[in-house]
């Protein structure tokens, strides 16, 4: 196995981007840090700068104003990086698909920016912390 991928799997540092979510997915992501779920066990760490990140956790539909920022954050993230779409909204804009201010789904925005972006989907509204952890683990195993 490529050593780059191997180390990426063992030490995914994640950066959380909200592009128009209802807070639920965000709270569940923060919940993953608390003692009940403690993701540091897997080497997963939330970092404060996209430049330090290996994975982006994107929540929200991708509103018109936030899409600009999402692209900027994606450009700042060193490659290789995995983008996790947490929740129904970034995966397919969910119930907001008709919204005039919605530019998502997020994978479309990212593919415009980089056609080779590695994207993993964790649907759910909101996905439970267990689902988020399991989604991240499965996506990493598939790399």
């Amino acid at each position: 196995m490529n050593w780059k991928i191997w180390s990426l799997k063992k030490s995914p540092w994640v950066f959380h981007v909200n592009v128009g979510a209802c807070n639920n997915c965000d709270i569940e992501i923060v919940n993953c840090l608390t003692p009940k779920f403690d993701v540091e066990r897997f080497g997963i760490k939330l970092v404060g700068s996209p430049r330090h990140a290996d994975a982006l956790l994107v929540t929200g539909v991708g509103t018109r104003q936030a899409a600009v920022r999402l692209r900027e954050v994606y450009r700042q993230t060193p490659k290789p990086c995995v983008v996790f779409l947490i929740g129904a909204c970034p995966c397919g804009t969910g119930i907001f698909y008709k919204g005039y201010h919605v530019e998502g789904p997020v994978d479309k925005i990212l593919k415009e920016e980089d056609p080779n972006a590695i994207i993993a989907y964790v649907p759910g509204c909101p996905p439970k912390p267990e689902a988020i952890i399991s989604g991240v683990v499965k996506a990493l195993a598939a790399l």
Partner: protein, 146 residues
């Protein structure tokens, strides 16, 4: 002040209103034309005095309608003031933000989504639409589909 006294108070401004409806004891709907908007709002906020809740901007096909919702908490009564703006080409109404800072955001929002101009608003900049949203496109107008 109980509900009856509240109703009495409201009837003081009867001449400026075009309709008063009360479908439920604690739901009052008042209607007025846009030129009386400022003074009636001022009355509701300062004389009644009721708590401003929000305003709803509606595109009613032939005119624009702004409903100012006030809550009179002692009786749990919601006072709704419907203001009709008949000019569809250049809709404008006087801003109530100067005496009611709570209305700043909602007036900016209605300006964004319906294109109604609020005269004397201190800060009528874009609030909720994106920076790259085209000028002159108002998403809540009926003719705008997605």
């Amino acid at each position: 002040m109980n509900q009856q006294e509240l109703n009495g108070k409201i009837s003081q401004i009867k001449d400026r209103l075009t309709a008063i409806e009360q479908p439920l004891p604690n739901r009052v709907y008042l209607s007025c034309e846009s030129e009386n908007c400022y003074s009636v709002n001022k009355f509701l906020f300062e004389e009644v005095p009721a708590r401003f809740v929000i305003a709803t901007g509606i595109d009613a096909e032939d005119c624009f309608e702004i409903i100012y919702h006030y809550s009179y908490d002692q009786t749990g009564c919601v006072i709704n003031l419907k203001v009709f703006i008949r000019d569809r080409e250049k809709p404008a109404v006087e801003s109530i933000t100067p005496f009611l800072p709570a209305a700043e955001w909602i007036e900016r929002e209605i300006h964004d989504i319906l294109g109604i101009d609020f005269i004397n608003h201190p800060n009528l900049r874009r609030l909720i639409l994106a920076d790259d949203w085209p000028d002159g496109v108002y998403p809540m107008r009926k003719e705008v589909k997605k």
